[in-house]
């Protein structure tokens, strides 16, 4: 119930905002901040009450929603979703504070922001495929409006592209969902869309697994976005307002990686193994391609957008390294990207507010004029590169460690992405902050104000916190990683030799799932 309350609190707040007259902008902003802050603070309770020793779902709540379809309102969180959930409430709060300077249609803006928050939170807690799909599509609308109304010059193009791209992927996923829905009914006689039940009880033949995997893959790969499905991202990022970009990078893209972990791996372990190598290579192409394209960008936001493609390549690579380190690294890097890239977008938004341009060539020598800003920018840049002592290092190191165990060749190519990242980030930093101050328009820029510091400082604290002491974060997903690894392990599909004594309970599960997965091999069904 608590989780439901937390998830719908922003939506209730949004409905409340609808009753405030639109002239009272100050009040609207205050209410929005209050709702977001309450939601964030309460969501910390989840961390406090979270049992870190189990991979099972916690704070679960299930009630029949559409009994005729067998659809339940079933929510809960585990190690994969806990931190993403808290990050969502956290970034929503930051974004609303960062949106203080929005002048146009403030009321609608805040309503869209809070509604978006509910949509995203719902995605991370849904344990029913139908419910998941509802939230997954629902959050598109406020994001579409945020880009389309408050965005830049090409906002309509970007908004429609964002919407349609995502819709293509998710509608094919819907077909896959419906297929599984009838398949599970045929196999067990139970009409249900409950994810937990389907994961445990559905046996899918290898051929069907491949198709279903691809349907889900497309939906999530577009969202992540993986190369070559990434083309909507730079447009959306460049045109979106600052807060929109932050949410997009910080949370929306994570929904894609989350989807892989929640659906693709546990539901289709067989197909996951089959496709593992291809996806890993796609991720690597994304890493290198994103980095190379970022290098030649002239627009700061576009540069950060392409760096996102590159960074999320690391996350995907970690997931499809299929080992402990890789998965840990992916989950951590997921978080890191949300922190660092959000901070970068906020910082870019700040100079855009002052100069109304984001072209790198317009700047130069800013370090002398706005030193505090420069320091913040530097820290975030270094975190994005992955300098030891910052969060980026821990995550990337783990991912690379994981992929090195899987395949040395892949590790070699992927590592080049780290080097490229240093190139484009530092080069950009140099051109913006150092060099000669030759543009007179920059001379009167003001340094960061108090409100802007409030949005950036918490992110910087997190950068160092995870950089120096990642344990409080890592231990939340430890058992889940363990469990997921046993589920997707290729050993499941080989004839069993001997049992592993270390994880007695895990092996029980693992035997169950392996017997499931082996059956389809013998009987081919259509």
């Amino acid at each position: 119930m608590f989780l439901t309350f937390l998830t719908f609190l922003p939506l209730i707040g949004a409905m409340g905002l609808a009753f405030i007259p639109k002239e009272k902008e100050g009040m609207i902003k205050q209410v929005a901040v209050a709702v977001a802050a309450a939601d964030f603070l309460l969501s910390l309770q989840l961390y406090a009450g979270f049992d870190m020793s189990t991979h099972l779902m916690q704070f679960e709540y299930s009630i029949a929603w559409i009994p005729s379809f067998g659809v339940n309102y079933h929510v809960g969180i585990d190690g994969i979703s806990l931190l993403l959930y808290i990050m969502t409430t956290f970034l929503t709060l930051i974004c609303i504070i960062a949106s203080w300077s929005v002048k146009k249609r403030v009321k609608e803006y805040m309503i869209a922001m809070l509604a978006l928050s509910t949509g995203m939170l719902g995605v991370f807690i849904s344990l029913d495929i139908f419910l998941f799909y509802v939230f997954w599509e629902f959050q598109l609308v406020p994001m579409y409006l945020l880009i389309g109304i408050w965005g830049g010059p090409r906002r309509i193009y970007a908004a429609v592209k964002f919407f349609l791209y995502t819709a293509v992927g998710s509608l094919l996923m819907l077909v896959a969902i419906i297929w599984m829905y009838f398949e599970v009914q045929q196999q067990t006689g139970v009409l249900t869309t409950d994810l937990m039940y389907i994961t445990e009880n559905l046996n899918i033949g290898l051929d069907a697994q491949k198709w279903l995997f691809m349907a889900f893959f497309l939906a999530f790969a577009i969202k992540v976005p993986m190369f070559p499905f990434h083309t909507w991202l730079p447009d959306a990022h460049v045109e979106a307002p600052t807060a929109g970009s932050v949410i997009l990078a910080g949370v929306l893209l994570k929904m894609g990686t989350y989807g892989f972990l929640r659906f693709n791996l546990p539901l289709f372990p067989f197909a996951s193994n089959v496709f593992m190598e291809y996806i890993a290579w796609m991720a690597i192409i994304g890493i290198v391609y994103g980095a190379l394209v970022a290098m030649v960008q002239e627009d700061l936001k576009k540069l950060v957008a392409y760096s996102s493609v590159s960074h999320l390549g690391f996350v995907m690579l970690g997931i499809f390294a299929f080992n402990h380190y890789g998965l840990q690294g992916a989950l951590l890097q997921n978080l890191n990207h949300g922190i660092s890239t959000s901070a970068l977008f906020l910082l870019v938004g700040m100079i855009y507010d002052r100069r109304h341009t984001r072209l790198i060539s317009e700047f130069g020598g800013l370090a002398k004029i706005i030193p505090v800003y420069t320091i913040c920018f530097m820290i975030v840049t270094l975190s994005s590169i992955g300098l030891p002592g910052t969060n980026g290092f821990v995550g990337e190191f783990l991912v690379l460690l994981g992929i090195f165990q899987a395949d040395g060749m892949m590790a070699m190519v992927a590592t080049s992405g780290v080097i490229f990242a240093a190139c484009y980030m530092l080069w950009m930093f140099q051109r913006v902050m150092f060099l000669k101050l030759d543009n007179p328009k920059n001379e009167n820029m003001e340094d960061m104000n108090c409100r802007e510091l409030i949005t950036i400082v918490p992110l910087i604290i997190l950068i160092f916190w995870i950089g120096f002491y990642p344990k409080p974060f890592m231990k939340t997903f430890e058992p889940t990683v363990e469990h997921l690894m046993t589920r997707v392990s290729p050993d499941n599909f080989r004839p069993k030799k001997h049992n592993d004594e270390h994880h007695a309970t895990a092996v029980d599960k693992h035997e169950e799932s392996s017997s499931h997965s082996e059956k389809p091999k013998e009987k081919s069904h259509h």
């Binding site: 009994p67 005729s68 599509e137 389309g148 919407f163 819709a167 077909v175 419906i178």
Partner: protein, 477 residues
């Protein structure tokens, strides 16, 4: 002389149709005394519709058949009767303010709607080819007149004439198809045809197949499926807006349920031979409906093409020919009724005294000037596009489910890709409302009854999206 026994008739189960016939005649009669003020007629028609709707639910021991098995009242037809009476009532509510503003004074308008509703009820209960023909003709003739009821408007005349000529042509195909089916199986009863096919007593497979194909053409005209859709955009554009909404829901639903009954209960066993043809029709209907809608600049033409594409989705449920398909059509049409009446309510609200403002560019800037109306329109557009958490999504899920269950995966994939295309033009309206500045100020008179219809429709669209279970249970009995 041989004694001909009178067929058993269960008058209670016929109550909705009988009540509406009586009230239709009553309205015609009252029109003699009503003069310029039509409120009395409106009142009488609404009472008739409410009584008919209530009496439909007063049945027990369903299914009941009458006229020697030519007419059956089952749960499907009861649910459709509900859709028909409900959508006719909304049509009348929308007309109250629309008609005087647009110079429609004819009192028979209301009677025609009631008679048309009778035809639809007959059609949804018909289990005999003759009865189906009777229902279709009652519906069509009323619609021909309704389309042209704006007597001094050339477009309305054109709509009426076009509809009449093409409709009459299509009826020819339908009758021919029925005749061939009768020739092949020796009976006009749907159950009898199914038996004959099942026991192999078919005179000629070729004639049977030819009959099915002609029936597909005939029904295809009535539901406006491609390539028999050309009348729809013109007729939708020319007819008065409430009549357009009416046509898009009730008669279409009635024709679909008859279509479903013929193809899913009478000749499902020869399905292998006609379902490829129907699949081609369904795919073409979706694709051409959606592509056609993209380029439209008139909101009523856009909705006409959108309704063509929706027929494409609905045909999928017929192709699936399982019981889920029938329930899915029922649920879909109920959801569609809410969405369409809401949308047309807004189309009517946007009309001014001297201009109906039917260009979609008139919607620019509506999000700022009329945020509530724009929000409602957004909900309808998203729901028509099949986005959760609105009724359109549940309806689409249901239809696609019926097809996936029978293994028509490719068809379903084509359908969902089409719904992405459809999202494009639904989003176009939202883009206009929220992201563009208006070109000129509209002098809107926000009329309360039309607004109430929109409010009912919004409520229904959200209700059926968030808590569809009560209505799902009604359709699944």
């Amino acid at each position: 002389m041989e004694h001909i026994p009178a067929p058993a008739i269960d008058f209670v189960s016929l109550a909705p149709a009988l009540i509406l016939s009586v009230f239709g005649m009553l309205v015609l009669f009252l029109d003699l005394f009503a003069g310029k003020n039509k409120n009395l007629l409106v009142f009488a028609s609404l009472i008739g519709l409410v009584l008919a709707g209530v009496s439909a639910f007063a049945q027990s021991n369903l299914p009941v058949s009458s006229f020697g098995g030519a007419y059956i009242v089952d749960h499907l037809s009861v649910f459709f009767t509900l859709i028909f009476t409900f959508s006719s009532a909304l049509t009348i509510l929308l007309s109250i303010e629309y008609n005087p503003r647009n110079g429609i004074r004819a009192g028979e308008y209301y009677a025609l709607i009631l008679f048309c509703t009778v035809g639809m009820i007959v059609l949804s209960s018909a289990t005999d080819l003759i009865m189906i023909f009777l229902g279709i003709e009652v519906v069509s003739i009323c619609l021909y007149v309704l389309a042209g009821i704006k007597r001094d408007d050339v477009r309305s005349n054109e709509a009426s004439l076009k509809y009449f000529l093409l409709g009459a042509f299509a009826t020819g195909f339908l009758v021919y198809g029925m005749a061939l089916l009768y020739g092949a199986t020796g009976t006009t009863k749907l159950a009898g045809i199914a038996d004959a096919i099942h026991s192999g007593q078919v005179n000629s497979d070729t004639i049977l197949l030819l009959g099915s194909v002609l029936l597909i053409i005939g029904f295809g005209f009535k539901v406006a499926s491609v390539p028999f859709h050309m009348w729809a955009p013109d007729v939708y554009e020319g007819s008065p807006s409430p009549v357009t909404a009416f046509m898009a829901v009730g008669p279409k639903a009635a024709a679909l349920v008859a279509f479903y009954r013929v193809f899913a209960t009478a000749i499902p066993e020869v399905g292998g031979s006609w379902d490829t043809l129907l699949m081609v029709v369904a795919v073409l209907t979706m694709v051409i409906g959606n592509l056609g809608a993209i380029v439209q600049t008139n909101i009523k033409r856009l909705l006409a093409y959108s309704s063509i594409s929706h027929v494409g989705y609905l045909l999928i449920a017929i192709i699936a020919r399982n019981s889920l398909g029938g329930s899915a059509i029922a649920f879909y049409m109920m959801a569609y009724a809410f969405m369409i009446f809401g949308t047309f309510g807004i189309v009517i609200l946007l009309g001014e005294k001297d201009s109906e403002n039917l260009e979609i560019s008139n919607y620019a800037g509506l999000g700022v000037k009329q945020p509530a109306i724009a929000l409602c329109m957004t909900i309808f557009m998203l729901s028509l596009g099949g986005m959760p958490p609105f009724a359109g999504f549940i309806a689409k899920f249901y239809i696609l489910g019926a097809a996936v269950k029978e293994g028509y995966i490719i068809l379903v994939v084509i359908a969902v890709l089409n719904s992405v295309v459809s999202l494009y033009y639904y989003l176009k309206i939202i883009v206009l409302m929220y992201m563009k500045e208006s070109e000129r100020e509209l002098n809107l008179s926000i009329t309360p009854i039309t607004l109430a219809v929109v409010a009912i429709a919004v409520f229904g669209t959200i209700e059926m999206g968030l808590f569809p279970d009560p209505i799902l249970q009604l359709t699944q009995q």
